[in-house]
C-alpha cells in the first residue's frame, strides 16, 4: 500500500450561514483546498463526501457548484464521523493505486434544519423513549463523577479551554472567551451538562486534497503532510454490563492507527478530538491513551491540555469552540492538524508540532456502543 499525503486543505468559517446553501459552502471549501494544493479542477480523479442531514447527492451538488462533475463521487454517512469516513475512503483509493489525486469533503448546513436536541436515529428504541445525545453523555458524565470524583467545575474548565482557543481561530463560531463560572451559569441541557458544554448547531464545510507519493513529488510537495495512518471502526454490540467511562470504540480505532503508523500515544504532540460535549473530550483522550483513565478533567484544570501545556487538546477550539457542522467536523479536524504541522496556525500555533492526531467519533446506533470512530495520525 502506497503512502498517502495531504497536499491541500480548505475550510469555510464555521457558524451560521443562512444566506448560503450547503452546496455553496462545500464548493468554497473545495476551491480553497485545490488552491492550497496547487492543483486544478481537472486534476481531481474521485471524491468522497460526508454529510448527515443534507439529503441526496450532497457531493454531486457541492462539487457541481464548484465546477467538478463526471468523476466518481461517493456520499458517505457515519453520523458525526461522516467527514472523517470520507477521508478514510479517499485514502483507501490511493492505497489501491486507483488514483493519484482525490478529494475528501465534509459539509453540513444545519441552520433552520434542526429542532431541539440531536438524537439517535428515530428508528432507535432508546430515541423513542426519550434518549438524546446530550443525555447519553450526561449519563456517562454521572459515572465519571461517581467513579473518579470528577466535578462540574472540572468539566466546565474543558469548555472554557476550548472556547478560549477558539478566539485565536478566525474560522471558529465562538469569538469570545467564556469563564468556568459562565459555563456553569448557562442553562442545564442534560444534568450535569450545561448549554456551554454542548457543541452548537453550525453550518460549514471542510475539504482536503489527498495525493499519492508520486503526485506529491510532482507537485513539489514541500508543504505536504503525511497521513501516517487512517483507521475506521464501528461500535461493538452492547453485551453485558460495561463501564461506560471506557471508550472501547475509540481505543480500537486508535490501536489500529498506532500499529499501522508505528507512532504510539507517547509520540503524539497534540490532538484534535471529538468534544461534542465537555465530558466527551475527557472520554476521548482517556480512550486514546493520551491521559490516564479518569484523570483528564483534573489535569485540564492544571493546564496540561492548554496550547502551551504538555499535550494541547483541541487547539482549534474543538467542536465546542469552533462549531460542529456534523459532516464537516471530521475533515475540519484534519485541516487543523495539517495547518499546525505546517506551522501555519498563527496565534494558536503549537511549537514543535510534528506529529498530530485527529479523532472523530459519531452517533449511537441501537445496541452498539457508537456508530463510528476514526483516528487519523499525521506527520511532517
Amino acid at each position: 500500500m502506497s503512502d498517502v499525503y495531504v497536499v491541500g486543505a480548505g475550510m469555510t468559517p464555521f457558524g451560521k450561514h443562512p444566506d448560503k446553501t450547503a452546496a455553496e459552502l462545500g464548493a468554497a471549501a473545495v476551491l480553497e483546498a485545490l488552491d492550497d494544493a496547487g492543483v486544478s479542477l481537472g486534476d481531481i480523479e474521485a471524491a468522497w463526501v460526508g454529510s448527515v442531514f443534507q439529503g441526496m447527492a450532497m457531493g454531486q451538488r457541492a462539487l457541481g457548484e464548484g465546477g467538478i462533475s463526471g468523476i466518481p463521487i461517493t456520499n458517505v454517512e457515519n453520523a458525526c464521523s461522516s467527514g472523517s469516513t470520507a477521508i478514510w475512503g479517499a485514502a483507501m483509493s490511493i492505497k489501491a493505486g486507483a488514483y493519484d489525486v482525490v478529494l475528501a469533503l465534509g459539509v453540513e448546513h444545519l441552520t433552520g434544519a434542526f429542532r431541539g436536541a440531536f438524537t439517535p436515529d428515530e428508528s432507535d428504541v432508546e430515541a423513542q423513549r426519550g434518549l438524546t445525545m446530550p443525555a447519553v453523555y450526561a449519563m456517562r458524565a454521572q459515572r465519571h463523577f461517581a467513579q473518579y470524583g470528577t466535578t462540574s467545575e472540572q468539566l466546565a474548565a474543558i469548555s472554557a479551554k476550548n472556547k478560549r482557543n477558539a478566539v485565536a481561530n478566525p474560522l471558529a463560531q465562538f469569538k469570545k472567551p467564556v469563564s468556568v463560572d459562565e459555563v456553569l451559569a448557562s442553562r442545564m441541557i442534560a444534568d450535569p451538562l450545561h448549554l456551554q458544554e454542548c457543541a452548537p448547531v453550525s453550518d460549514g464545510a471542510a475539504a482536503v486534497v489527498l495525493a499519492s507519493r508520486r503526485k506529491r513529488a510532482a507537485l513539489g510537495g514541500s508543504r505536504a503532510v503525511r497521513l501516517a495512518a487512517s483507521a475506521l471502526k464501528s461500535g461493538r454490540a452492547e453485551v453485558g454490563l460495561k463501564d461506560m467511562t471506557v471508550e472501547d470504540l475509540t481505543w480500537r480505532a486508535a490501536e489500529e492507527a498506532y500499529e499501522r503508523s508505528g507512532i504510539g500515544p507517547s509520540d503524539i504532540r497534540f490532538a484534535e478530538v471529538h468534544d461534542c460535549f465537555s465530558i466527551a473530550e475527557a472520554l476521548r483522550v482517556e480512550g486514546l491513551g493520551l491521559f490516564p483513565h479518569g484523570e483528564y478533567p483534573a489535569r485540564v484544570v492544571k493546564g496540561e491540555a492548554d496550547l502551551d501545556g504538555r499535550l494541547p487538546v483541541n487547539g482549534s477550539g474543538g467542536l465546542l469552540g469552533k462549531g460542529h457542522p456534523l459532516g464537516a467536523t471530521g475533515v475540519a479536524q484534519v485541516v487543523e492538524v495539517v495547518r499546525q504541522l505546517r506551522g501555519e496556525a498563527g496565534p494558536r500555533q503549537i511549537p514543535g508540532a510534528r506529529v498530530g492526531l485527529a479523532h472523530c467519533r459519531g452517533g449511537k446506533a441501537q445496541g452498539v456502543e457508537g456508530t463510528a470512530c476514526t483516528v487519523n495520525i499525521l506527520t511532517v
Binding site: 429542532r115 431541539g116 436536541a117 438524537t119 428504541v125 432508546e126 423513542q128 423513549r129 426519550g130 434518549l131 438524546t132 446530550p134 443525555a135 450526561a138 449519563m139 456517562r140 454521572q142 459515572r143 461517581a146 442553562r187 442545564m188 441541557i189 442534560a190 444534568d191 450535569p192 461493538r236 454490540a237 452492547e238 453485551v239 453485558g240 454490563l241 460495561k242 461506560m244 445496541g367
Partner: protein, 144 residues
C-alpha cells in the same frame, strides 16, 4: 431468509405483566447465554442464530441517570432517564417516573406510566410507556 421469530418479537409489546409486575421482553443466546434487550436475529458474541425469548426480572439497579431539560419537540421536559442494570447481565435505558432525581445504585422496579412523550407522539411500541420507579424514594405507582 433466517427465522422471523425475533423479527416478530420486535413488533410485539416489549413487555409482559405478570402478577402486577412488569417484565421486559429480551432475547438470550442458547449457546453463550448473552442477553439482548431488545432481542436481535443473531448473537453478536458467538454468531448463534435465533435467540430464545426471556422476560427480565421486574427490578433492576440504576447504573447511571440524567435529567433532560432540552429534547426534541415530541417530549415534555424535564424528565429523568436511567440506564438500569438487570441481574440477567443486560442494561436497558428507561425513563424514570416521579419528580425526584434518580440515584446511582438505587433499586428500581419497572412500571407503566405516561412517559415523557407528548400526547399524539406515541412510538411504535404502544400506548403504555415503560418507566422505572424506586419505591424507597417515594417514586411508585401513585406517581405515574
Amino acid at each position: 431468509m433466517v427465522s422471523t421469530e425475533a423479527a416478530t418479537a420486535v413488533m410485539k409489546r416489549p413487555y409482559e405483566v405478570e402478577d402486577g409486575l412488569v417484565r421486559l421482553r429480551a432475547g438470550r443466546c442458547p449457546a453463550c447465554n448473552a442477553v439482548y434487550c431488545p432481542a436481535r436475529l443473531v448473537c453478536d458474541g458467538c454468531g448463534h442464530r435465533g435467540l430464545e425469548e426471556i422476560l427480565l426480572a421486574p427490578r433492576g439497579k440504576i447504573y447511571t441517570f440524567t435529567t433532560v431539560h432540552q429534547s426534541t419537540p415530541e417530549f415534555q421536559t424535564p424528565y429523568h432517564l436511567c440506564y438500569v442494570d438487570f441481574d440477567e447481565q443486560v442494561r436497558v435505558m428507561l425513563p424514570a417516573a416521579g419528580e425526584e432525581r434518580p440515584r446511582i445504585g438505587e433499586d428500581v422496579e419497572i412500571v407503566l406510566g405516561t412517559g415523557p412523550r407528548l400526547v399524539g407522539t406515541e412510538p411504535e411500541e404502544g400506548p403504555h410507556a415503560l418507566m422505572v420507579a424506586g419505591s424507597a424514594t417515594g417514586r411508585g405507582e401513585e406517581d405515574v
